[in-house]
């Protein structure tokens, strides 16, 4: 099928081939990937827990989120870039892996959840000052985000144990 040809073509490119066949390029990129994901999840957790009313209650939600989410996005850019390189190096194998596919679906769901929050409950973010627990819609978004990102890490780790 066309996408199988595409993944084969992708991993035969110069840089993916070098990553796959090199001595240490793969682990170096993987290290950056792990660091970036730890920062993505570690920072997004702060916002999620605040939305749930479980942490940082002495901070207004809007101000906390604006500060923290800049870090999240920078880290996410690194995670996506390194993840893309790791995928390209063994595209055919990863594309066929259940946990890799699951991880991509979970990422899409996390993005969708974020989009819905911004267009919905999140529009009132500046009303949730210090000490205020956000309304149910925001708490649901926070809980979903927390769950989805934990699952992203679970699926990501399982990829390494299920590659054929």
């Amino acid at each position: 099928m066309w996408f199988e040809d595409f993944f084969q073509w992708l991993q035969d490119l110069d840089i993916p081939t070098r990553i796959r066949e090199g001595e240490s390029l793969f682990p170096w990129i993987e290290s950056i990937h792990v660091l970036a994901i730890a920062l993505v999840v570690g920072t997004i957790m702060m916002v999620d827990l605040r939305l749930l009313g479980l942490a940082s209650m002495d901070r207004p939600v809007g101000r906390l989120a604006r500060g923290v989410l800049v870090c999240t996005w920078i880290a996410f850019a690194f995670a996506a870039l390194t993840g893309g390189l790791l995928f390209a190096a063994n595209a055919v194998t990863y594309a066929g892996n259940f946990f890799f596919r699951g991880k991509m679906v979970l990422l899409a769901l996390a993005g969708l959840n974020m989009g819905c929050f911004h267009l919905g409950a999140g529009r009132a973010i500046d009303n949730w000052g210090a000490g205020v627990t956000p309304p149910p819609g925001a708490r649901i978004a926070g809980g979903l985000s927390l769950t989805l990102w934990i699952l992203v890490i679970c699926f990501g780790r399982w990829i390494g144990f299920t590659l054929k």
Binding site: P27, S31, A38, V41, M45, M46, R157, G160
Partner: protein, 166 residues
């Protein structure tokens, strides 16, 4: 180190590998990945907290927040994640003693962890001396405090990934 140390380390790893507890970890396919997931989630909590404290020291984030209150928010996260990291790390060692204990990358990681704990203690002590009105360190002192922390934490996370390749 004397040769006898390595001989004893070999013998210890072999003994540990043969214990029933280690055997269970080795032979149940889902245990090691599950422990690693817990380990990574705890690292994420630490990484986020370390980032917040250090970004505040450099005034890149929350510059209007008093430094001691930022530290009070995030230092406990680091100290609470530490036992989770040590316990999950210990279980991985019991499951695969030779892969870890005899691995130079793992040994380096242990040294880096001890150093970063000492550094975090130092930071906590320094901040405890300041009143709530103090907004922070001077720029040079802040940088001198942040740099070793970032180098150590990045080193620890990278070493963690590299253990698998040695």
């Amino acid at each position: 180190m004397p040769l006898s140390f390595f001989a004893e380390l070999d013998a210890f790893c072999e003994w540990l590998e043969g214990t029933p507890f280690s055997q269970i970890i080795q032979k149940t396919y889902w245990i090691i990945p599950t422990i690693q997931i817990v380990h990574i989630l705890a690292i994420a909590a630490v990484a986020g907290s370390v980032l917040m404290i250090n970004a505040r020291l450099l005034r890149l984030i929350d510059a209007n927040q008093p430094l001691p209150s930022v530290a009070r928010r995030f230092l406990p996260v680091i100290w609470r994640a530490l036992p989770v990291l040590l316990l999950s790390g210990l279980l991985m060692i019991i499951g695969e003693p030779a892969r870890s204990l005899k691995n130079p990358i793992f040994q380096t990681k242990v040294v880096l962890i001890l150093l970063v704990c000492a550094h975090t203690f130092y930071l906590q002590k320094r901040l405890a001396g300041h009143g709530e009105d103090v907004t922070g360190f001077g720029r040079a002192r802040a940088f001198a405090t942040v740099l070793p922390a970032l180098v150590l934490w990045v080193g620890i996370i990278f070493a963690g990934r590299w253990i698998a390749y040695y």
